[in-house]
Amino acid sequence: MTKKPKPKTFENFWERNRLSGGYLVRKRLMGFGISLARFILLFGMCFMILQPILNKISVSFMTQEDLYNPIVISIPEHFTTENYQLAAQLMNYQKALVNSFIISITIAILQIAVCTLVGYGFARFDFPFKKLWFACVIIVILIPPQTIASSLHLHFKFFDILGLIRLIHGDTINLRGSAIPYYLMSAGCMGLKNGLYIFMIRQFFRNIPNDMEEAAYVDGCGTLKTFLRIMLPEAKPIITSCFLFAFVWQWTDGFYSKMFLGNTTLVSTSLARIVDSLGAYIQRITGVKTTISIAYANCILATGTLMIILPLIILYLFAQRQFVESISSSGIKM
């Protein structure tokens, strides 16, 4: 039973092909050629993106002699986990990890909570000077934080609220080195890429139909209650993805961390210093000031980088869909 139709369709194909004057075969070949070319192209590009990570993984397991051995390219001859131990020690890994985790989570929650409020305000309410304030959001997106960095630096070094603190305390307080300024800035939507989050959340809220909200109002729901009960559950996808972005960008951020959280051991700042601390470490052990070879320094750097991005990769594996679909769901248009 099953055998019969098979040769029939096969005959049919050639028959049809003959009748169409070779068009079918040409079309098949074209389709095959296109998908082959696409496969090669995409494979190449994916390999190009992944190659540095793969390279880092192989390097991180090498001993020093493997690094200088020209025969060893990707698979280490002497397998070792020493690099990981050394990098963990140099970066103060456990402490940095815990610190980074706490700071990234709290900052991300704070930023997204505030940005959601603001984004909802911009999307759903009509008030005077709305255009002006939204232009300010665009300005926040456009201004590189480096422009105001020098001034912020001083602003927090001699921190004062309208001269009140000076009145009570007798002097301005130096908030530099503590994490407070950064939390304050996050609460005011001026953290890392917060303008972008406001913009994305606003776009998302604008695409939700008005009906549900109006129904809630008619039933006697207040503004805040409507927002919490009706709109917030609707906006779950964009909020999760913005939260993930905030977390990840905060995790790897160097600029704000260096500026405000200089005294806290964070993974991002300790990774930036890892080569220097390697030099200091070796000097302490051998007692002589030696220059470390570039290959070895890079090997440790690669190991450190891997250790830092490992939590992010795990996060990405689980939440990949949220990351990728977030921006498409916000429907950015100008």
């Binding site: 309410f125 926040v140 997106i141 005011g188 951020d253 160097g254 991002s268 830092i308 769901s329």
Partner: protein
């Protein structure tokens, strides 16, 4: 007019306006305290010579001195500025073209599409912040590449192609720029994750009917790319262009930014650092403004 405006916000409208202000009040506060004040302060400081005391800082007005110094005295600043801006223009163009091309491919149906998308989006997460800056001077990779090059005795397809094209002798300079981008395609690829997603979301909103109609009328795929796809997502070119330029300016491996950081933190010269960053910011803003004005002229709006 005055009466009308007052009338616009009464009753429910008024209550909603107040609620709206309450919702955006964190932003207003933050903007006034952490953006406006530092912004004007840094603008003021850029005209001053800032003296740091133990508890107070004391800006002394000195006019355009810092700007003068940045342009004429500082040995690096001019060079860095020109280099970074030309690099920005070239790379932004390359990123836009690359991400448009990739999103066209990723919009087709094939097996493993989700996986490929995930890979293309990976750099957004892994190459942000400090990691990007560290990536830049990876000597190990360079030596590895050199090794491979010596073992294959310098025979590479791209190298040969480059030589053939160069011998033509026409537009050598333009070719050089293109080769530079091709050699650094990795940098372009890792910087275009978000742009690809934005283009993809745009491509998915174009209705199939248009392509079908075009096909029936005898349009080839190439023609419908330029006549349908391109105009329909042209507004996203504007979005992506602005995003790319801004993103490029804020990268931590940016030469000008590094220069500003060293002047500010290591040399403690706040006035000078402010002047430098204001020059950079004004140039970027003007650049974004002018280019997006021209791009928005070409944008086609369907509805």
């Amino acid at each position: 007019m005055e009466k009308k405006r007052r009338k616009k916000y009464v009753g429910l409208q008024k209550r909603k306006a107040i609620a709206g202000y309450l919702f955006i009040s964190p932003f207003i506060l933050g903007f006034l305290v952490f953006m406006i004040k530092p912004l004007f302060q840094s603008l003021y400081m850029s005209f001053c010579n800032v003296e740091l005391g133990s508890s107070v800082f004391n800006p002394v007005w000195q006019g355009l001195g810092n700007y003068n110094q940045a342009f004429t005295v500082d040995p690096e600043y001019n060079r860095l500025l020109v280099e970074e801006i030309s690099r920005m223009i070239i790379y932004s163009l390359a990123i836009i073209v690359f991400s448009f091309f990739v999103s066209l491919i990723l919009n087709q149906n094939f097996k493993g599409r989700a996986l490929v998308r995930a890979v293309f989006f990976l750099p957004v997460i892994l190459s942000s912040g400090v990691i990007l800056g560290l990536e830049e001077d990876n000597q190990l990779m360079a030596t590895l590449a050199q090794q491979i090059e010596t073992t294959t005795s310098g025979v590479s397809i791209t190298g040969a192609l480059e030589e053939i094209l160069m011998t033509a002798g026409v537009g050598t300079r333009a070719f050089e720029e293109v080769f530079e981008i091709i050699d650094n395609i990795y940098d372009v690829a890792i910087a275009s994750g978000i742009q690809i997603i934005i283009f993809l979301s745009g491509l998915q909103t174009i209705s199939r009917n248009m392509y079908e109609a075009a096909e029936i009328e005898g349009c080839t795929a190439w023609e419908s790319l330029w006549k349908i796809t391109f105009p329909m997502i042209s507004s996203l070119f504007l979005v992506n262009w602005i995003y790319t330029v801004i993103d490029f300016c804020m990268r931590s491996d940016n030469g000008v930014i590094e220069k500003i950081q060293t002047v500010m933190i290591d040399q403690m010269n706040y006035g000078m650092a402010s002047a430098m960053s204001w020059i950079y910011f004004v140039i970027i803003l003007a650049f974004v403004g002018i280019t997006s004005f021209f791009i928005s002229k070409g944008v086609y709006y369907y509805d």
